[in-house]
Symmetry: C2
Subunit: 388 residues, 2 copies
């Protein structure tokens, strides 16, 4: 099968390396950045790939522009398309699916969620013979590295972030990671595969920007640590929920064992029970290995992992499946505001004008709304659901 | 697709339940034990299934006799065959594969390894685009339940085994589980899928029959716990190794987080890195969910997960990949015998005429040979590789 590659960076170069000597694939063209063409197989012009005789294009550029334009043009030109670009799929995945179906071409994106972890393919297979009650997990290596460093070495957020950058685990602009949005995009992809719905409104996203060394001190005293967790699922009434937020989990919980930049993706099947998949969530060869898996699947005839009825939808995070109690750290004089909204079950400690409390049960939507209101009062709030 | 089921016990009944209302499959006959026919769809005679118009037979009886005869007859009668029977596949998997290929019928057995965990399907997919360096993990829920109980509640082996029986986690005759042989059979299946070799000689199997509360006391002082681990892989020279043995692992290691009767299957891909899959390793619906996955794969055209060149082979557990240091508990006066064979690096403690030591590096084969020699001297030995 003739293949061209868009991008020759961390992942694109990994795919190129892995294809050397592969008898099933022949690389036609590789798109590189302006001024970076150093070999015959490279081109700086997308048009060369648009018009070449590749049957499959693999995109590893990242970003929505110009990736979406390139993807559309490739599919319309009769090429199948594989991408590791979660922003592209979370934004235009449904359009690209419809375009691919219309043109009778393939569209796969396993590496866009979980790096090397084959969570999307497994969800795709599992739902054919089981019902997926919920899916999600620890899906961002950058934030997990930061949280694990803060926990294991009692350092502050800024120091942990600097280390993550120095080690290549965080990008120069880490906003998408630490805000939780990267995790949310992966939840969107998981939701597409598990439920045929891309939740593009009313989801709740809380990142780790406000976590502090003090929160880890308190967590440690409780025998807990903190992880950033995304989840989507169906409520009893069949409505989708989808959110990302920090979670306080016991040291003996699986989540606490997910260290450094490792990811753990999970789902609960009605029959299978909870299935957990751990592995490298990013990096050149791990991510490229998942692209190669998609390429092999496509070579053998699989063309989609989405159903053609996949639609945009909104999340409803007010159902009882979204209820839980929260650890909240807040200025002492704002605790009454929190109390009036959701009730406070227990005060854990008070120090330097801040209180750490455990709330009464409250839904994800309510908790995120309360935090937003407190922040409008300029409060420094950190909250994390207490894992049951 | 018309399907008949051999067996109506824990797993067979689960498959039957899950097929109710499934539009893709129609159950023709279910084989039950003599005197247990209570419904029209049941039969007590295999001949009824042999001669019915099912295209696919699902076997959930267990045991090699008469399962092998039934499997052969079904395939020769033009039926595809799916089984959850690891003893059958570990003994006759290659014959059944060849018979299925010759008759152009399917043969799948995902549920025979790992219960609900889709380790065999994932290995089958992964190896198409990656090299599997090793594979294995914690693959027996009965022994994991016993070890976890001994660890968390400081009880003895006999008490933990009785509890496991009372809770239905151990069979009346638990020999296959506690001897490590059940895990070894799963390693054989993993090896077939990952390496096209069924290792049927020279493998090493050590179970947990000799583990004591005292070993857990010592492990606890070291910040460790004990797990039963199976592994196969390829040495640098391309030779297969395959073994099962207890492992001493740090409390912060993933393995320590695999609690109760949970299983964790793993592989390391050259490109993907280490992938770990956790879930229910047994039980009615978890195991049946994996059978349903195989049925769905077969319905969609997948017929095998083995290559037709799959062969019997022997294990070589003397390579450097099989080297490690061991925790050994032994009568003090036999320590010189151990020392003469592999060297002792460190004495951990001495109590009631027993010593616990850490050996110098030694291969799996050498360690198992030494233990066999010590047992010929009637020694009560427990050993566990120290996880690196």
């Amino acid at each position: 099968m003739k293949v061209s590659i868009l991008g020759h960076g961390v992942v694109g170069k990994g795919v190129w390396d892995m294809l050397q000597g592969n008898p099933n694939f022949e690389v036609v063209n590789v798109l590189v950045k302006k001024g970076e063409k150093t070999a015959d197989f490279m081109t700086e012009s997308f048009d060369d790939i648009w018009h070449d005789d590749s049957e499959l294009v693999v995109e590893c550029m990242g970003g929505v522009v110009p990736a979406y334009e390139f993807a559309s043009k490739c599919i319309e030109a009769g090429k199948s398309f594989i991408t590791s670009n979660k922003a592209l799929v979370a934004t235009h995945g449904i359009d690209l699916l419809n375009l691919a179906v219309k043109n009778n071409k393939g569209f796969l994106f396993s590496a866009a969620c979980g790096g090397a972890i084959p969570i999307l393919q497994n969800l795709h297979l599992a739902r054919k013979s089981d019902s997926i009650i919920w899916a999600g997990g620890i899906l961002n290596g950058t934030t997990n590295f930061i949280l694990d460093s803060m926990d294991s070495r009692a350092i502050g957020f800024d120091e942990a972030l600097s280390e993550a950058k120095a080690l290549g685990y965080a990008e120069f602009d880490p906003t998408a990671d630490i805000s939780g949005m990267d995790t949310m995009r992966k939840i969107m992809l998981i939701s597409m595969v598990a439920y045929d719905v891309l939740p593009n409104s009313d989801y709740n996203v809380e990142g780790i920007q406000t976590v502090s060394a003090f929160d880890f001190e308190v967590a440690k005293k409780m025998g807990c640590t903190i992880r950033l967790v995304g989840r989507c699922g169906l409520s009893d009434s069949g409505r989708l929920y989808a959110y990302v937020q920090p979670m306080l989990c016991s040291r003996s919980d699986f989540y606490a064992g997910v260290c450094s930049n490792i990811n753990m993706a999970q789902y609960e099947g009605k029959n299978s029970g909870v299935m957990s998949f751990m592995g490298q969530g990013a990096g050149r060869y791990p991510t490229a290995s998942n692209i190669l898996r998609d390429m092999t699947s496509m070579y053998e005839g699989q063309s989609h992992m989405l159903k053609s009825k996949c639609l945009f939808g909104f999340a409803n995070n007010s159902s009882k499946e979204c209820e839980g109690v929260y650890y909240v750290r807040l200025k002492s004089d704002l605790i009454p505001v929190l109390e009036s909204h959701c009730g406070v079950d227990k005060v854990l400690c008070e120090k330097d004008g801040k209180k750490c409390v455990i709330t009464k049960p409250v839904t994800v939507k309510a908790m995120h709304d309360i935090a937003a209101e407190l922040r409008r009062k300029d409060a420094d709030v950190f909250f994390a659901q207490v894992k049951g």
